[in-house]
Symmetry: C2
Subunit: 151 residues, 2 copies
């Protein structure tokens, strides 16, 4: 079996395990969207997901893709990259209220950073403002090591 397929199979297994343990229903659109985003090598837009869903599901419409994506987002299986209107897999096993990404403006690759807490400078600020944190997102744009090396 190709290595990529094996990796996806493993992701799917942990997806199924998690859903089983948390009483979440895995349905055909959800499974399809999960596989598509987790096997992609780049952030996928909702309409790219929709297009690929056609392989598993008969002529899917936008709400089908968006609902599946919402489900995956809510349960922490994927992240939305706001500045790209696109989605990437989340590899972390636990849910977190903050996400941080390094986005290469050349090859478009996105790397997830995984801080568990808001950096102190920001935490101090929200404390002094008496702002109650719900969730936070950092998007760092620049050039990745690989693309830097190519120049």
């Amino acid at each position: 079996m190709p290595i990529l397929a094996r990796m996806i199979q493993k992701s799917v297994q942990s997806f199924e395990k998690y859903c089983d343990e948390h009483n979440l229903r895995i349905t055909p659109p959800r499974l399809s969207a999960f596989k598509i985003i987790h096997s992609a090598t780049k952030p996928m837009t909702a309409y790219e997901v929709l297009e690929e869903m056609a392989q598993d599901i008969k002529s899917p419409k936008p709400p089908t893709a968006y609902r599946a994506i919402d489900f995956l987002l809510e349960n922490g299986f994927i992240h939305r990259i706001e500045s790209l209107n696109a989605y990437i897999p989340c590899e972390e096993k636990h849910k977190h209220d903050g996400s941080q990404f390094m986005i290469c403006k050349i090859c478009k690759h996105v790397d997830e950073i995984h801080l568990c807490t808001l950096p102190a400078t920001l935490q101090n600020r929200i404390d002094s403002e008496k702002f109650t944190l719900d969730h936070w997102n950092v998007e760092i744009h620049g050039i990745c090591a690989k693309c830097n090396a190519k120049k």
Copy 2:
């Protein structure tokens, strides 16, 4: 003169001064968009800006608003809030490569935080990855002090 109008007048003056010094052209759509975003009390979407531009400009079309907004963005007079598809004024006098916002999910008010450097935890990470920073953005969602007090 009402206090709000006076504040906007002052912003406009510094806008004009900056453009003059940097050889940037102030045109009617640009000035109109500047005033609209800088006098708003909430983040404005492109189409909200477009709508209000009609007060200054005869039946403006979308490209007019988008071009004016792009100009303001490029020159650091406004910021885009990615998670809202909307724009807010930038009050800082110098251009910066990072923006940080506290976004209240109840009243939608956005407060800008102004860190000049990327927090150390993130800087360390991009250094070790040999990632070259271009610009970065933090969006913190939660509940502001005022809305907290009301509950």
